[in-house]
C-alpha cells in the first residue's frame, strides 16, 4: 500500500479555486446593489445563503466527529474533505457578521414597538433580545471553531509524526464534541430560523435543523468524493464499496429527515393549536404547497427508493446524481423552512436570494479548496487507514 506518496495525493485545484472565488465575489457585489435599493430583501437573501453554507461546514464537522467516534471504514477516504469543510467555519464566521448588523431587518422581535404591542413577544424577551443574541452567536462560533481547529490540527500532526495517540485524542474530543454540537446547532437553529416567526415553537425543531443540515453536508461531501475520485490515484482508493457506504449514510440522513419532518407535521396538524398551526397553514397552502409536495417526492420518496438499490449505490456516477438531487433539495428545504415567514402568500422570485446563495457558495468553495490542498488527500499515517487499503 505504500506506493502512495504524500505528493501523489496532493489536491490540485487547477483553476477551480480562483474561478469559484471570482464567481463568488462578482455575485456578492451584484447582490450588494440590493442593500441600497431594498435593504430588507438584501438581508433576507443573505441570511438564506449564509445559513445554508454555514450548515455545510457545520454538518461536515459533525460527520467528521461521528467518523472519529465509530471509526467506520467510510470515513477515512472522506476525512480530508470533511476537515477542509470544517475549517471553512473559521472564515464563514466573518460572513455571519452582516446578519448581526442587519438583525433589525430580519427579526421582528428586535423592534421595540412590535414587542410593546405583543404580550407574547414581551414574555419571550428574556431570550429574544439583541445583546443576548449576539452573546450566543459568539459562544456558538467560538465552540465550533475550537472543535474544528483541534480536530484538523491533530489530524495534520498525525501526517507528520504518525503518532498513534492522536487517534485516541481525536476520539476523546469527538464524544463531548458531538454533544456540544447537538446543543449549539439546535439553539443556533432557534436563533437564526425559528425566531423568524417568534410565536411558533416546536421541541423537535432543533433536531430537524441539525438533520436538514446533515443531508446537505453528506450530499456535498459525496459529490466532492465523486469529483476527487475521477482522477488518479484516488480513483483506486475510493472504491465502489465505499460509495455504497456513502449511499447508506445518505439513506440514513434522508430517512431521519423524513421521520422528523413527518413527526412534527402529524403532531401539530392533529393538535391544531393556535400557537402552532399557523406555521403549517401557509406552508401547506397556496404555492408553498407545491414546494412541500416537491420536497416529499424528491427529498424523500425518490432518493429513498434509489438509495435502496445496490446498482445505484455501487456506481459512483449514479450515486453522484442522487447526491446532487439531495443537495438541491436541501437548498429548497431551507427555502421552504425560512421564506414563508416573510412571504406568507406564496414564494416570490427574488434574484438576490439566488445570487447571494451562489455568491456565498463561490466563496465557500474557494475557502474549501484552499484548505483541501494544504494536506495530502488521505490520512496516510492513521493506523486504521492502512487497514482500509489492505482490505480492498
Amino acid at each position: 500500500m505504500n506506493s502512495y506518496s504524500p505528493q501523489s495525493l496532493q489536491y490540485e485545484p487547477r483553476g477551480f479555486q480562483s474561478k469559484a472565488l471570482a464567481v463568488g465575489v462578482v455575485c456578492l457585489i451584484i447582490t450588494l446593489i440590493e442593500l441600497f435599493l431594498h435593504p430588507t430583501q438584501f438581508f433576507r437573501s443573505y441570511l438564506f445563503g449564509v445559513v445554508f453554507w454555514l450548515g455545510i461546514g457545520l454538518s461536515c464537522t459533525a460527520i467528521l466527529m461521528l467518523h472519529h467516534l465509530v471509526s467506520g471504514r467510510w470515513g477515512f477516504v472522506l476525512r480530508r474533505s470533511l476537515e477542509a469543510a470544517a475549517r471553512t467555519l473559521m472564515w464563514m464566521a466573518l460572513f455571519f457578521i452582516p446578519v448581526v448588523l442587519g438583525m433589525r431587518y430580519l427579526y421582528i422581535w428586535t423592534h421595540p414597538a412590535a414587542v410593546a404591542a405583543d404580550p407574547i413577544l414581551q414574555q419571550k424577551q428574556f431570550y429574544l433580545n439583541t445583546p443576548f443574541f449576539i452573546i450566543r452567536q459568539v459562544i456558538y462560533f467560538g465552540l465550533w471553531i475550537v472543535l474544528a481547529y483541534f480536530l484538523t490540527r491533530w489530524s495534520g500532526e498525525q501526517d507528520k509524526t504518525a503518532n498513534p495517540d492522536l487517534v485516541k485524542r481525536m476520539r476523546n474530543l469527538s464524544g463531548p464534541g458531538l454533544a456540544i454540537y447537538g446543543f449549539t446547532v439546535s439553539f443556533a437553529g432557534f436563533d437564526w430560523m425559528l425566531s423568524l416567526e417568534p410565536h411558533f415553537f416546536s421541541t423537535i425543531y432543533g433536531m430537524l435543523f441539525v438533520v436538514t443540515e446533515a443531508v446537505g453536508g453528506m450530499s456535498f461531501i459525496t459529490l466532492v468524493a465523486y469529483f476527487l475520485s475521477k482522477r488518479e490515484p484516488l480513483s483506486e482508493i475510493i472504491r465502489p464499496s465505499q460509495f455504497h457506504d456513502f449511499g447508506n449514510l445518505l439513506l440514513v440522513f434522508t430517512l431521519l429527515w423524513a421521520y422528523i419532518s413527518f413527526a412534527q407535521f402529524l403532531i401539530i396538524w392533529s393538535g391544531n393549536l393556535q400557537n402552532e398551526i399557523p406555521w403549517y397553514v401557509y406552508r401547506i397552502n397556496h404555492t408553498w404547497a407545491t414546494i412541500a409536495l416537491v420536497l416529499v417526492i424528491f427529498h424523500f420518496a425518490v432518493p429513498f427508493l434509489l438509495l435502496l438499490q445496490r446498482f445505484v449505490t455501487f456506481r459512483r456516477q449514479y450515486l453522484a446524481w442522487v447526491a446532487g438531487l439531495l443537495f438541491i433539495m436541501s437548498i429548497l428545504d431551507l427555502f421552504w423552512l425560512m421564506m414563508p415567514s416573510y412571504e406568507k402568500a406564496g414564494p416570490q422570485f427574488y434574484w438576490s436570494d439566488w445570487l447571494a446563495l451562489i455568491g456565498l457558495g463561490g466563496i465557500f468553495l474557494a475557502i474549501f479548496s484552499s484548505q483541501l490542498k494544504r494536506k495530502p488527500l488521505m490520512p496516510l499515517h492513521d493506523p486504521n487507514f492502512v487497514g482500509v487499503l489492505q482490505h480492498e
Partner: protein, 477 residues
Amino acid sequence: MEPLDPVDSPVAQEEPPAFVSPGDPFLAPGHSYASVTRDISGTVLRKTQRGWWIGFAVAISLFLVLNFGITLLFAIGVGEFGINIPVGWAFAITNFVWWIGIGHAGTLISAFLLLMRQKWRTSINRFAEAMTIFAVMCAGMFPFVHMGRPWLFYWLFPYPDTMGVWPQFRSPLVWDVFAVSTYFTISLLFWYVGLLPDFATFRDRAKHKAGKLIYGFFSMGWRGSARHWKRHEVCSLLLAGLATPLVVSVHTVVSFDFTIAIVPGWHSTIFPPYFVAGAIYSGFAMVIMLAIPLRKWYQLEDYITIRHLNNMGKLLLATGMIVAYSYVMEAFMALYSADKFEHSMIVDRFFGGGYGVVGWILLSCNLFIPMTTLWSHRIRTSTVGLFIVATFAQCGMWLERFVIIVQSLHRDFTPSSWGMFYPTPTDWMILFGSLGLFLTLFYLFARLLPSISIFELRHLVHRTAEEAGVIEAVEAE
C-alpha cells in the same frame, strides 16, 4: 443425504487442538469450535443447579403476586387501580410503555447491529432477543388488563362484525395494536430462525430421550447442509431489514398515544425520537442488568467480555445523551413558548407539591448519575459499577414515563378538575408481579435454551482464527 456439520454430530466430541486467538477482546483467546459448543450447551444440557432453583422460586413467587393482583382486578374491576378522573392513565400505561421500551434493545442489537456488521453483537444478541420477547409479552398484558372489559379485546381488531362497528383508525391506540403485534411477530420469528441451528446442536448432544425429541422437533429437520445455511442467511438478513424500521416505529407510535392529544406535557413534537432513544436506553440498561449476572453465574466471561460491557455502556451513554437533550428542549421550549399552560406544566413537574419530588428523583436516576459516571472508562468496564448505573437508569426510565403520564394529567387546563393519583396495593402488585413474569420466563429460557448463539460464536472463532492465520488448526478438527 447432506453431510452432518462435524461439530453438530455427536461423534466429534473429543478435545481438538486449541489455538491462540490474537487476543480479540470480543472472544477470549484459546477457543475452538468444540470448546464454544461445549461451554454454551453445557449451561443447558446438565443437571439443574441449586442456584437456578432458588432464583426460579423467587421469580415464580413474584409471578404469583401478579396472578393475585390480576384476579382481584378482574373480580372487582379497574377501580382496583388508583385511577380516577383526571388521572385515568397511571401505573398500567406507565408499565406498558416501560416494558415495551425495554423490548427495544434486543431487536436493535440483533437486527440493526447485524446490518451495521458489528461483530460484537454475536455473544449478546440471543439473550437480548429473548429479553425483547418477554418484555413485549409483559407490555402486551397491560393494555389488556387496563381495558375494563378485557373479554372484548378483539374489538380492537378491524373485522367485519354484525354491528358494523370499526375501530377508529385515526386513533394512535389502534396503531399501537398493529405496531406492537407486528413487532412481537417479527421479533419472535427472528429469534426462532436464529435458534434453529442451535436447536439442532442440542438435538445431537442431548442425552435424554425427551430432550432429543423436543429439540429435534423445534430444529425442523436442520442438518446443516450448505443449502440450509444459505436459506438461513437470506432469511436472517430479510428479517433484520424488516425488524430495523419496526424498532423505530413501535415507540414512535407509543409516543403518538400522548402527542396526538393536546394535554401540556404530552403534546410535544420531540416525543417520537425522544421515546425511541429512551426505549433503547432502558433496553440497553436491561441487557446490562441481565448480562452481568448471566456471565457470572454461567462462567461466560470468555464470551461476554469486558469489551462488550464497555460498548454497551457507550451505547447507554449515547442514547442517554439524546434523552438529556430532549429534557433540555422540553424545558426550554416550555419557557420559550410563552404559553401559560406549558409554562405551569414544566414548573409543576419539578417544583410542584404533587410530583415535584418524583421529578427530581427521575432527573437524578436518568441524568445526573448515568450521564456523569458513564463517561469514565473505569465505570464502564467495572461490572459492579455498570450494573449499579444501569439499575439507576432503569428506575429513571420507569419514573420518566410515570411523570409524563400522571404529572401531565393531574393538572390540566381547569384548576377545578385537578386531582392527585395515589397507587393502590394492586397497582404495586401488578408492577412487581410483571417483573416476576419476566424473570420466570427468563429463568426458563436460561435453563432450556442456549443463552448465547452457538453457531454465531463458531463463526466468530473462524473469523478470529482466520485473522490470526491459524485457521488450519481449527479446520483440522
